[in-house]
């Protein structure tokens, strides 16, 4: 019987099956960060358990870290304590840690692929919902809670119930100025933030195949915003080329063996998914979120919707609340909305290609007077690469702050936050109330759109901007 890629990976990781119970899956890679791990390590200490496979466990610091100079002391004492706890735990349990002074430090979902740790066919977990990012390589990757972090640390396994499968097929070609970010925002807008709950999604189709690995990571990253357990894209020559030569990639004879295995992963012709969703890439415009949920999106050419547009009374009330929180009136052009801040970064759009795209728009331009703009590279290697290419100079000349790597203003756990009422065009993944700072207003966009908006001082259609 033909199998989907997901089924192949799942079956290859079943350690044990018992009727009436979840399957026990083996985990090939466990990524750890400072926020969701301290209680898990504490649990190990309380029960006298060890980390079963420190060699398959890798930790970094990303959520809390300041993005100002690494030579400065960390002023937030509670953040500092959490980072110290991770250092102590990694030392005690023998786990590799890339701390804030490491040349490999960065957002956990940026460094996994960068180090060659993320490989096709692996089962990858992390106490972070955006673990779905790694699915871009054809890995089964999903976020877990702290109790499950402890479970994986202790056993290298996780009991899991079989999810359903959804194929999201993106046919055709993307237009100029339209990116992976716009595809995924369009998908979430179409199926809703719970549209893929209970499913593992496989993204297929011409537009997906045409994307770079960075673009594929952007797509898989936001699978969780559609409610999906995980999102996958079949590996191909682009995938192999990305991995080859990376620090922890297989080498020599092992490389050939690995690639031969990876080539068996893509879904077989005729494999059945439980659900199919189709989109036409040529119809996707640059997207922007207007509300407080990632499903509240419109094309940049659109108008802010009215609560009356929603059939469900609960959705109508949510739209009313969102309009009020966002300080927007129904029916206005989203392009008329003025901005205070532009943030480029995050595990969604903080990779080198994202910075190149934004710098391409910003070259020789300057951000609007009075607007705060910051670029936070996803990792130290991304930062160094960008500096080698001179991108930092373009950003700085344009009036952007050029920062150290971390999650930063995506969730504002470090000092990079919005003030109440401030409005931000952000390349991150969540526009929840208060996400970037209490009372802050977030508009999710692509790096190109963020860059163009920083120059204009309001949201603009980057496709027309290019022509100006």
């Amino acid at each position: 019987m033909p199998k989907t890629m997901f089924e192949k990976i799942w079956e290859a990781h079943v350690v044990r099956e018992t009727v009436g119970q979840p399957s026990l899956l083996y985990i090939d890679l466990h990524l750890v960060h400072e926020v969701t791990s301290p209680q898990a390590f504490e649990g190990l200490r309380l029960t006298g358990r060890k980390v079963r496979r420190p060699d398959l466990t890798v930790a970094t610091m990303d959520h809390n870290v300041p993005t100002t100079s690494r030579s400065l002391p960390i002023l937030d004492q509670i953040s500092k304590k959490q980072m110290e706890a991770l250092s102590d735990n990694c030392k005690e349990f023998g786990v590799t840690l890339y701390d804030i002074h490491s040349k490999r430090q960065g957002i956990v979902h940026v460094i996994g692929p960068e180090l060659g740790l993320t490989q096709p066919g692996l089962a990858i977990v992390c106490g972070d919902s955006h673990t779905s990012t790694h699915g871009a390589f054809g890995a089964l990757a999903f976020g877990i809670g702290t109790s499950e972090v402890e479970h994986v640390l202790a056993t290298q396994c996780l009991p899991q119930s079989l999810p359903k499968t959804m194929e999201i097929r993106v046919n055709g070609k993307l237009g100029e100025g339209v990116t992976a970010k716009d595809i995924i925002l369009a998908i979430i807008g179409k199926i809703g933030t719970d549209g893929a709950t209970g499913y593992v999604v496989e993204y297929t189709g011409e537009a997906i195949r045409a994307l770079s690995m960075e673009g594929r990571m952007t797509i898989c990253n936001m699978s969780i915003e559609a409610g999906a357990r995980a999102g996958l894209i079949a590996p191909d020559e682009k995938t192999f080329a990305y991995i080859q030569g990376k620090t922890f990639a297989p080498q020599h004879a092992e490389w050939d063996e690995a690639v031969a295995t990876w080539k068996q992963l893509p879904s077989d012709p005729g494999a059945k998914y439980d659900t199919l969703v189709e989109l036409d890439a040529s119809e996707i415009a640059p997207y922007v979120s207007w509300g407080t949920s990632p499903g509240m999106v419109i094309p940049i050419t659109g108008l802010v919707p009215s609560p009356g547009d929603y059939a469900d009374p609960a959705d109508r009330r949510a739209a009313e609340r969102a309009l009020e929180y966002m300080g927007l009136d129904a029916g206005v052009s989203i392009q008329s909305v003025a901005l205070d801040t532009v943030f480029i970064g995050s595990c969604t759009n903080g990779r080198i290609e994202d910075l190149r795209a934004a710098a391409g728009i910003l070259k020789g331009q300057h951000v609007r007077a009075g607007l705060r703009a910051l670029v936070v590279p996803g990792s130290v290697p991304v930062k160094l690469q960008a500096e080698a290419e001179g991108l930092d100079v373009i950003f700085k000349d344009a009036g952007f702050d050029w920062r150290e790597a971390g999650c930063s203003m995506c969730l504002g756990m470090n000092p990079d936050i919005l003030q109440p009422g401030e409005r931000c065009a952000s390349t991150s993944n969540r526009n929840f109330e208060g996400r970037q700072g209490k009372g802050g207003r977030t508009h999710l966009v692509s790096p190109q759109m963020a860059a163009a908006a920083s120059i204009a001082g309001h949201l603009v259609d980057v496709r027309e901007w290019d022509k100006k």
């Binding site: 301290p38 466990t57 809670g145 609960a314 949510a318 109330e433």
Partner: protein, 204 residues
């Protein structure tokens, strides 16, 4: 793990859809390294005025009739967003031991069971009715996991579905790490068959 068998007590309505984990427990409280003490921060940005100390009179749960509530009735896709287990820690510490909603985000749903909270899935129209009934002072509900029923003090009673294994673990408060460790020989056997190139963080 904490067990859950049967619960009777005050129910409080939170008539919102897609209440995300950033609302349940905002990020500034994720820096603690303990599992305890999160209840004081539950729904913080909704619960308090901008000064962070004055209770927001508009927020449903601040009404005195809901003090001591143990059942939370709410809209679809509850707990969407981040994987933070601080969300169920905060709910449980505040006093909520059962949640009734039409649907939940996957990771949050999982996390509840690990913390002695029973998330019950009920049809949307039932939730709409319960949200309405919840406005009555002294509205009391019983959530019975053993018999898989939800009922109230106004004559409502309805069965609910829950995965048999999750039910078993929650009823008995089982330590699921302990359960997995019982299969140590299977894990070792699996590991012996893993290809050498799956080295993780060890360079070849």
């Amino acid at each position: 793990m904490e067990s859950f068998t049967k619960l009777t007590g005050l129910a409080a309505p939170l008539d919102r859809v897609n209440a995300d984990t950033d609302q349940i427990i905002p990020k500034q409280f994720l820096k603690r390294i303990e599992r305890t003490g999160f209840g004081q921060f539950l729904f913080f940005d909704w619960r308090y005025e901008a000064d962070g100390t004055t209770p927001n009179p508009e927020f449903e749960l601040n009404q005195s009739q809901y003090a001591g509530a143990v059942v939370l009735i709410t809209g679809k896709n509850f707990g969407c967003g981040s994987s933070r287990e601080h969300a169920p820690w905060a709910l449980a510490d505040y006093g909520f031991k059962a949640i009734l909603a039409p649907s939940y985000a996957d990771i949050f749903y999982n996390n509840c069971f690990k913390n002695g909270i029973l998330p019950v899935v009920l049809p949307e129209e039932t939730i709409t009715m319960l949200l309405e009934r919840g406005k009555t002072a002294g509205y009391t509900m019983t959530v019975d996991l053993e018999n898989q029923t939800v009922s109230d003090n106004q004559g409502f009673s309805q069965p609910f579905e829950v995965d048999a294994f999750r039910r078993h673990c929650l009823l008995n408060g089982l330590d699921d790490i302990g359960l997995t460790l019982q299969h140590e020989p299977d894990i070792t056997a699996y590991e012996s068959k893993r290809p050498l190139w799956k080295r993780g963080a060890v360079a070849a």
